[in-house]
């Protein structure tokens, strides 16, 4: 193969969303040579679509608010497989991280006293569940993700990291010692292939909602980082845990923020009944997302769905009044008019649970370094590899993420990864070498597509994969369907391995990117399927009709899927917060 162009950095971040940009800012401010590879211009990253807000105990709406209550809610929301040391870190560091964003210029909505506006979100409580509904989600109208991502990009314009925008990371470069030494990437505009070497590589590539046919996720959310990690032989954690957001617009899949219910909206069935009162008498429409999504599906399955096909329920907002809707939920008005052809000022929005968020991902330490297990089942850090944000599983979300906790995750753990890398580089982690054969291994997949001369089309295979996941690994799961799904995925693995890339051109070749993304979708889907079949219980978002109870005796643990032998191992959940008493598992009721 021809000699590769090579670039070298101290810290390389793959992904230009919230986590990546926050990590980049930290590294650039520390004076290290940092670079961000992003397959889109950074403000196009999917963080931009986050709506409702960032949950954090800044004590604006309630001066008595306490990060330990936020921690309690998050642990409970996770159905007790969130790591308590990580949740403690996120909730206690959160206020500082949010104030930093405000200082950078994030245009938060405000209270009369000039502080940051906070709204109620699902699963929030005061006083460890005893003091009623809390209002803890800091918001910039219903465009918080947009405001956050643009603010972080703006700060980076000032910051000084190198931006490799519209570059696509193909695969990790792993040397003979199992250390990650950088990535092979494509400069999309020219098609040039480049070896980007770095002392530390952070995967901040976001989620993979596009493994499902119906998702709120952007078209580019194809799990590229998780795919790269799996192909390099590294494990993923709790990958069976997928959040279905209760309110995706029926048919379109476009997200309608939980903030709608936080502001007082509620769900109704075809009889006009506010059905969540039956399923969650206390929290009602603001129960955990998994609980609300399941309740909606039951309503639909039992014949109380709305519309001609009875395939959705309705989200009612008109009683909030036009003024509130205009000031608090302007983006929702816009999206509803465009994609549901309804005006929420007068009519309810047709909604249905829609794939939204990947709780699982690359297992990491609290400071962001990626983990695997050694032969004795002990945690072992992966040299040179870090992960943050949705691609990572640190794990603060466990089996079910609370609304507003994803944006907090991004900035707290993006920053933590940056800090840790800075420290590691200062202490002198050496630059690791990769051999010619290591580089060739990282280019093998790209070469396969480039050499393909015939085979099935990428678009058709992708659709089949998405339909399989939707049918067999949705809100409710059973052994029988999952087995069938796994068989189909096995067939798809062979077929995708022989699929055809007809367009071999160099300049801005999006067909090649979609082919490479399909490999990543397959890796994530396959890992999801195997791990979902293995976890024989119901917990959080993982609801099995054949194992309906939570099984703490056998499954109060993380799952760890190893790609090389398709094995699912167990990993202990952390029950050792440093500064507060442990939260013991209890029955989860809303």
């Amino acid at each position: 193969m021809a000699a590769l162009r090579k670039m070298e950095f101290d810290g390389l971040i793959v992904g230009g969303g919230g986590a990546g940009l926050r990590a980049a800012l930290e590294l650039a401010q520390s004076g290290l040579k940092a670079a961000v590879i992003s397959k889109v211009f950074p403000t196009r990253s999917h963080t931009v679509s986050a709506q409702g807000g960032i949950t954090c105990a800044i004590a604006s709406e309630d001066p008595e608010d306490d990060w330990r209550w936020h921690m309690y809610d998050t642990v409970k929301g996770s159905d007790y497989i969130g790591d308590q040391d990580a949740i403690e870190y996120m909730c206690s560091e959160g206020p500082q991280a949010v104030f930093e964003l405000e200082h950078m210029g994030l245009p938060f909505s405000r209270t009369e006293s000039g502080r940051i506006y906070q709204r109620p979100f699902g699963g929030q409580s005061k006083d460890y569940g005893k003091g009623g509904q809390a209002a803890r989600t800091c918001a910039a109208a219903d465009r918080t993700g947009h405001a956050l991502l643009h603010t972080l990009y703006q700060a980076n314009v000032k910051g000084g990291a190198t931006f490799l925008n519209e570059w696509f990371a193909v695969d990790l470069v792993k040397n003979q010692d199992g250390a990650v030494t950088g990535v092979i990437a494509i400069e999309i505009e020219t098609g040039n292939v480049v070896h980007v070497a770095s002392r530390a590589t952070v995967l901040a590539t976001g989620g993979a909602g596009r493994i499902y046919a119906s998702t709120t996720n952007a078209l580019m959310n194809t799990g590229d980082g998780v795919g790269m990690a799996l192909r390099a032989g590294f494990p993923v954690q709790d990958i069976e845990m997928w959040q279905f957001h209760p309110t995706g617009i029926a048919d379109a899949g476009v997200l309608v923020t939980e903030g709608c219910r936080g502001e007082g909206g509620y769900l109704i069935n075809k009889d006009g009944e506010r059905f969540m009162e039956r399923y969650a008498p206390t929290a009602k429409d603001l129960a955990g997302r998994d609980v609300v999504a399941r309740s909606m599906i039951i309503e639909i399955l039992e014949g109380r769905g709305c519309g001609e096909a009875g395939d959705h329920v309705l989200l009612k907002l008109d009683h909030l009044g036009e003024a509130v809707l205009n000031s608090r939920l302007p983006g929702i008005l816009e999206l509803s008019r465009t994609f549901a052809h309804v005006d929420p000022v007068r009519q309810p929005i047709p909604v249905v649970p829609t794939c939204h968020y990947m709780m699982g991902g690359i297992p990491t330490q609290v400071r962001g370094q990626a983990l695997t297990q050694d032969d004795t089942g002990q945690d072992q850090a992966i040299e040179g590899l870090y992960a943050a944000g949705e691609a990572a599983c640190v794990s603060v979300h466990g089996a079910n993420r609370l609304g507003g906790n994803s944006l907090l995750d991004l900035i707290v753990f993006g920053r933590a990864a940056g800090l840790h890398i800075e420290q590691a580089v200062r202490q002198g982690i050496s630059r690791r070498d990769a051999s010619e054969s290591d580089l060739e291994a990282a280019r093998a997949r790209l070469a396969r597509w480039n050499d393909s001369t015939s085979g099935e089309s990428v678009a058709a295979l992708k659709r089949e994969l998405q339909n399989t996941m939707q049918a067999s690994f949705g809100v409710f799961r059973t052994e029988e369907h999952m087995r069938k799904g796994i068989e189909t995925l096995k067939g798809l693995r062979d077929r995708i391995g022989n699929a055809h890339l007809p367009d071999k051109s160099n300049a801005f070749n999006t067909a090649r990117l979609e082919a490479l993304e399909l490999d990543n979708l397959l890796e994530v889907a396959y890992a999801t399927a195997i791990a979902a079949e293995a976890r024989r219980e119901s917990r959080g978002a993982h609801a099995r009709e054949d194992h309906q109870q939570r099984d703490d005796k056998n499954w109060l643990c993380h799952s760890l899927y190893f790609p090389d032998d398709e094995r699912v191992a167990k990993r202990a959940v952390n029950f050792q917060p440093a500064t507060v008493p442990v939260l013991e598992p209890m029955e989860r009721k809303y």
Binding site: S49, I58, P107, A218
Partner: protein, 234 residues
Amino acid sequence: MQVSVYRYDPDVDEAPEMRDMSLELPEGKDLMVLDLLERLKEQDPSLSYRRSCREGVCGSDGINMNGLNGLACITPVSQVAKRGKLALRPLPGLPVVRDLVVDMSQFFDQFEKVRPYLINDQPPPAQERLQSPEERAELDGLYECILCGCCSTACPSFWWNPDKFVGPAGLLQAYRFLADSRDTAGAERLRDLEDPFSVFRCRGIMNCVNVCPKGLNPTQAIGKIRGLLVRQGT
């Protein structure tokens, strides 16, 4: 449905051309232009365009549809097609990389020129800086910009002077920070804009307002900057 698409691959084509493609549209369903592009790409995977969020917030898929700039993902085909025909072209005025993909460096250079970040020379407090709801309301209609480029590439002044005229998108950003009660660099910001080109090449023809997919009003923001410059000059 007849769709005529601007095609250009720099490695193969000597010159760009409009190529016709035909497509069966489903009955009784009004697709977005992006849905149509995705179907065309299944026919011909070599067709290149940018897209991501498919809900009008990421700003990737600004293109020119039957002469009008907009986002493909939130523009219904029925709104732009005329007599069953639709011509899709890249955003005008910028170099074409391939097909519907333009090189946006000039656009982003102008964005960076206005120092699009909050400047405050006071040490930050332990909590957030306070801002009243009224002060915050000054940012509405400004901070929502998604940098899609529809406005600047619809602006003849930006076509003539893309290196010197900041353009509607950049000026909207400039005013977003001038209007922010937390920013302390107003005077310097205005000084950077007082030359004959940066702001004053705006002729107020309001193409930007006409095409903005987020319903923002760059012309108004530019008017306010002019007002501040004039007041500062007196």
